[in-house]
Symmetry: C2
Subunit: 359 residues, 2 copies
Amino acid sequence: MASLLEGQARPIRLADIAKAAGVSHGTASNVFSRPEIVRAEVRERVKAVAEQMGYAGPDPKGRLLRAGKVNAIGVATTEPLSYFFDDPFARVMMAGISEACDATGAGIALVSAANQEKLAWNIQSALVDGFVLFCIEGGSRLVDLTRERKLPFVALELGFQDETVSAIGVDNVAGARLAARHLAELGHRRFAVLSLGFADNRTGFATPEVVRSAVYTGTRDRLAGYFEELSRFGIDTATIPVYETENEEKSTRAGLEAIFARGERPTAILAMSDRMALIAIDWLRARGLGVPGDVSIVGFDGVPDGALSTPPLTTIAQPITEIGRRAARMILDHDGAVRRETMGVDFVVRGSTGPAPKA
Amino acid sequence: MASLLEGQARPIRLADIAKAAGVSHGTASNVFSRPEIVRAEVRERVKAVAEQMGYAGPDPKGRLLRAGKVNAIGVATTEPLSYFFDDPFARVMMAGISEACDATGAGIALVSAANQEKLAWNIQSALVDGFVLFCIEGGSRLVDLTRERKLPFVALELGFQDETVSAIGVDNVAGARLAARHLAELGHRRFAVLSLGFADNRTGFATPEVVRSAVYTGTRDRLAGYFEELSRFGIDTATIPVYETENEEKSTRAGLEAIFARGERPTAILAMSDRMALIAIDWLRARGLGVPGDVSIVGFDGVPDGALSTPPLTTIAQPITEIGRRAARMILDHDGAVRRETMGVDFVVRGSTGPAPKA
DNA sequence: AGCGGAATTTGAATCGATCCAACAAAAATG
DNA sequence: CATTTTTGTTGGATCGATTCAAATTCCGCT
C-alpha cells in the first residue's frame, strides 16, 4: 500500500532520515547544523542515509519559523517589479542596497505588484526582516501598509512629514536653490518647472492650492527652493508654469507640449528629476531647439545616464548609492530607533546649461 | 514580574489574541484568512482585540510552513548582488522575469554572495519555490548547489551539456555564423575574437586545447560558429587570436592590448558579448582607431546600450526579455518536466561594421 | 417542546525544523 | 576502583500559523 503512494513523492523530512538512521531528530538536526558536535561515525551514517533517501537538506521553511530571522530585506514600491531594473535612479539605489546586503550576506526580496490588492497582500506576506520603501507615487499608502507589518522600515526619497517613520532623504530645498541660482546667474529670466507629483495620480499644471496641500513634501520643498532663490533675483515666480508629471515619458512630453504651447516660452527648465530632464533634452532637440543654446535644463538626482547624454546634463546630484547603503544598513542593524537622515547634494555642472539667449 | 518582562516586547501571536478575545485559535485564524465564514460580531470583536493589542497580522513565517509555497522565485548568480542592476544583459533579463512574476503576483528573491561559502548557504536557505540561474562564471558550481535543493530550476545563458537540467539558451552557432559572415562579406580577412570564458577563472589567449575541453559549451559553440563560417570564406582560423576575458572592463582592455600588440592587426573584432564590444569601441577610439573605419566590431546579446553607443553596435540580438519571461514561467508553472529550449537570434546591423579598409 | 439542517466554533493535528535540559556513556582524574 | 569531567544523544517543547473533522449553537417549523 505504502508503495502505491510512493509516487506522491511527499518530500523527505529530517524526521524521516532520523528514523531511518536510527537516531533522534535532535541528532539528525545536529548533523546538518552543527556537524562538529556529533560523533564522526554517526554523522557519516546519517549523511549516507540522507543522501541515499534523496534528502534535500533542512528545509528553510522549517528552520525559519524557529530562527525568526529571514536574513533578507524587502525593497518595495508601488511600481511594477521591472521598475527596479529599468529606472536609472532605482538602479543606482539598488546598487547601494546590494552593497550593504552583500557585506552582511543578506538577501534582497523585491516586493511590488500590478494592483493595489496584490500589493497589500505581497507586503503582508513578504518574508523579510524589514523594508526599504521607494516612496514614489502611492508612497503614503505604501507606508501605511508596511507599518502594519510592525517590522523595521525606512522610507526613501520623498520626505514624509510623519516624523514617526524612519526616512532618508536629501536637502531638497538646498538642492533646488542651487539649481535655480545657477540658471538665474546665467541670465535666465523665463522659467518652467517639470515637477514630480504633489500628490498621487496628479498630472498637469499645478495650482498654488495643489502645492499648498502637497502630500509629497519633497516635491513641495524642491519647488520652494526654486522659487525662493528665483525671487531673490527679482523673478516673479507666480508666472512660472509648474507641470506635474508622473516622471515618465508620456506625461513629461505632454508637459513640455503644454509649457511650450504657452505664450512666453521659457529659456530655462528646472526639472525635478534627471529622467524628466533627459526626456526634455530629447524633446527639445527633436523640435530643433538647441540645448543649451535656446533652452537650458537642470535636472535633479544625478543618475549616471545624465553624464552620457548629449549634451551631458547639469544636475543636482544626490548621493544615491550612499542613501541605498544607509537604508539597507538601517534595516540590517536595526536598533528600534526612528532615524531621519538628510543627506547633502552635489551640484554638477555639465553641458545642458548655458547663458540665456539674447532676447 | 510579568510586567518587568513586558519591555521585551515578545511579538503578539495569533494565539494571544485568540485567548484575549475568548475564541479558539481556529476562529482567530479564520478572522484573518477567511473572514466571511466567521460571524460578524465575533469577527469584529477579534479584530478589535487584535488592533488594540497591536497584532501585526498573521506572521508569514508561520503561515509559510503550513502553506508550503513561498510564492517567490529566486534568481541566483555567482556575481555580487549589484550585478542584477549594473549589467545591461542581466537587467533586460530581469525585466522579462519581472513581467512574468508581476503577472502572477509572485515575488523575486535575489540570491548571491560575495564568497563561495556564503553563496552555498544562501542557496540552501533561500525562501523560494524555485530558481532561475544566471550561469556565467562559476555556473556549474551554481547548478550543483541548486540541484541539492531539489526545487525546480532553470539554467540561463551558457548551455550545459548536462541534459538533465532545464535550460533556456540561444542558438549560439547560428548567431555566431551570422556575425562572421557579415564581416567576411564586408571583405574583412584579419579577425580577432573577444571571447567569454571556456572554463572558470580563465583569461588570456585561448589555446585549441582550452577550447576543446570547454566547460561552457555556449562559448565553445559561438567560437565554432565564427570559425565554421570564416573557413567557408577561405580564412585560416588557426591564426585568429581568441582572447578570453571575464566580460568586464579590465580583462577586456587587457585583451585588446594583447591583440593589438601582435604583428598583424585585425580589421574586424568578433565579440561574444555586447559589453566587450562596447568596451572595445571605447578602447579603439581612445587610440585613434576609427570604428568602423579602421576596425569593425560585432557584438553578441543585443542589449539596449548597444543602440546608444557611438557608433551604434552591430550585434547578434538574443530575445533576452522573452528568455527571462519563459524562465520565470517555467518555475512558476513547473510541472516536473525537464525542458530545454533554444531560442533564435536576430542579426541587427548598426553602425559599428563597415567595409574592410583597403590595405 | 422537539427536530432537522445550516451556520459557527472548537481543538487537536500538522507543517519542518531547532533548542535545550536531562541523561548516558566514555574518558580522565584522584 | 570510585569520582569527576567530558562528550554525545535523546526527546519534549517551541516557533506561528492553518486545516478539518467533530461538536456546538442557532433558527425556523411543526
